[in-house]
Amino acid sequence: MENVIEGKIWKYGDDVNTDVIFPGKYTYTISDPSEMAKHALEDLDPDFAENVNAGDIIVGGSNWGNGSSREQAVTCLKEAGVGAIIAKSFARIYYRNCINNALPAITCPDLVDNVEEGDTIAVHLKDGVIRANDREFRFPAFPVSVVEIFNAGGLLPYTRERLARE
């Protein structure tokens, strides 16, 4: 996984739920990740999927990703090129799904209040630092077990490697 993620911000509010990130009507009919990406954030921001660039960063408010356990709500953003999600807080299953898909989910309320849509920021994962608008914001470093999952490329490759070793 890359240590520095630099990109443009897409900023959203509190309580952004999995239904607006990836609509329920597609959950059993779309299985191809690139197809999922075309519907990313469809019911919140219809412009997102068409205009997002690789490395762009989503900044959300509190309780980002509340609602369904559907992992497609993470997969679609990852496939769309999103480099990281920064929020005031994350819903529990969503947070786990991010880790399991090697998409950095960073809790940093201070940053959220001090950036605007369109700002370019740089996330330094190993150092736990975000550089934005000539300021530095700190976040707790990921635990070793999470870094291992990230480095393997997600929970599935991580589990595959683990099972092969046993």
Binding site: D19, T27, Y28, T29, S68, L155, T159, A164
Partner: protein, 445 residues
């Protein structure tokens, strides 16, 4: 109501005890990460995708086919060929792996079916690839939702890491009155403390107010705790829970009710009296009134009277929250001998085949159909925008479900209000949001 962990003098909450047991430990520290082997792993229509993930792991057999439970409920019967192919892949996998706890189209919604089949018991652990898996806390079990990758890893390895969460204790006192139900309790709690009020935490319900709740009331309250952000929820089980489950376990296994009851009582876990809580909330049930959650968040809760007169195009009774017999009975009570408004439509989706059978035997389905309702096969239906009752742009729905997110029922340009089933039925009758109290005087047809 306290049973100390043997050999340990350290006090624990329910979730500490249950995760310690699942990890083969006597004690689990709050914040500790433990590897837990579940007693049951639940999935539904998403099992086809999980199967794909599982097979990518290079493993051929699931860790224990007896521990898996799969229902076809989210888009059942299949509304499109793609959905049918999805179901077909699941049936094939079920046969290949020898999974006996498989429930076909029509049996009902996973959380209801597994409860009815007593496939999870108090003090046990269930991991589910569905966000409403905390549901099983109604009986004093640990249930939590996980993603598809995690379920695939669990099928392969038979364990998953879980962090032992902090606990919020909710002490219920007083008695419900004036048409308020446990749905109104849940919505009021979420409305007061926010949709992230219990984020990452375990919620324990206790207090004198619990005993007035039927088994079905308990299911409603705990099911909604997913909307409170909770990792899991727990309602202190009592005799009514043990009786209900023992009869069902006996029916499924062929063992005597007495031996089933004994098994349940051996498994049950209660928090220690001096366990450590993040916070304690005292909730007086006598102050609760019927409420509605306005679009588009579950914590956007106001008194029902404030929304009186809001035009509704569709009324929806069903889902894992409020699609049970008592919910259908409440609707039938409101609608018997009357006719719903020509300006609205009413969808009733029983939570399971058992619910449908009982509702039919008791005459409720007849009451509802005569009033103009559409009865759908048991399942999740339109709750997540799959089929059978999705909304058109510009429409308003009042629903007994747990979520009113934008786009939830198929289009972002519709509005969903949440309320208890009697309020939903009364609103179908009137064509606008109203209290059942207000339509009692209407002329019968």
């Amino acid at each position: 109501m306290s049973n100390q962990t043997n050999g340990s003098s350290r006090s624990q909450t329910f979730v500490q005890k249950v995760l310690a047991r699942g990890a083969g430990q006597e004690y689990a520290e709050i914040g500790e990460v433990v590897d837990v082997t579940p007693d049951r792993a639940l999935s539904h229509d998403n099992s086809a995708a999980i199967r794909g993930y599982f097979e990518s792991l290079g493993v051929t057999d699931v860790w224990d086919p007896e521990k898996l439970a799969i229902t076809l409920d989210h888009a059942a019967p299949a509304p499109t060929v793609k959905h049918a192919e999805n179901h077909s892949k699941i049936r094939e996998f079920v046969k290949e792996q020898g999974i006996s706890h498989f429930f076909e189209v029509g049996r009902g919604i996973c959380h209801q079916v597994l409860s009815e089949e007593a496939l999870i018991l108090p003090g046990q652990i269930i991991l589910g690839a569905d966000s409403h898996t905390p549901h099983f806390g109604w009986m004093g079990a640990f249930g939590t939702g996980i993603g598809r990758s995690e379920m695939a890893a669990t099928w392969a390895a038979g364990e998953l890491w879980l962090r032992v969460p902090e606990t919020i204790r909710v002490r219920l006192t007083g008695e419900l009155s004036n048409g308020a139900t446990s749905k109104d309790v849940a919505l009021s709690l979420i409305g007061q403390f926010g949709a992230d009020g219990a984020l990452y935490k375990s919620v324990e319900f206790t207090g004198d107010g619990v005993s007035q709740f039927t088994v079905e009331d308990r299911m409603v309250l705990i099911n909604m705790m997913a909307e409170f952000g909770a990792k899991n929820a727990y309602l202190e089980p009592d005799e009514s829970v043990f009786d209900w489950l023992a009869a069902r376990l006996a029916k499924r296994t062929g063992d005597s009710v007495e031996s089933c009851r004994q098994r349940i009582e051996e498994l049950v876990l209660y928090p220690d009296e001096d366990a450590e809580y993040d916070r304690t909330i005292d909730f007086d049930l006598s102050e609760i009134e019927p409420v509605v959650a306005k679009p588009h968040t579950v914590d956007n809760v106001v008194p029902l009277s404030e929304m009186e007169g809001t035009r509704v195009h569709q009324a929806y009774i069903g889902t894992c929250t409020n699609g049970r017999l008592s919910d259908i009975a409440a609707a039938a009570e409101v609608l018997r001998g009357k006719r719903i408004s020509p300006n609205t439509r009413l969808m009733v989706v029983p939570a399971s085949s058992e619910v449908l059978e009982q509702a039919t035997d008791l005459g409720y389905t007849s009451d509802l159909v005569k009033a103009g309702a559409v009865i759908s096969p048991p399942g999740c239906g339109a709750c997540m925008g799959n089929h059978m009752g999705v909304l058109a742009p510009g429409e308003v729905c009042i629903s007994s479900a747990n979520r009113n997110f934008q786009g939830r029922m198929g289009t972002r340009d519709a509005e969903i209000y949440l309320a208890n089933p009697a309020v939903v039925a009364a609103s179908a009758l009137a064509g606008y949001i109203t209290n059942p109290e207000n339509i009692k005087e209407e002329v019968e047809v």
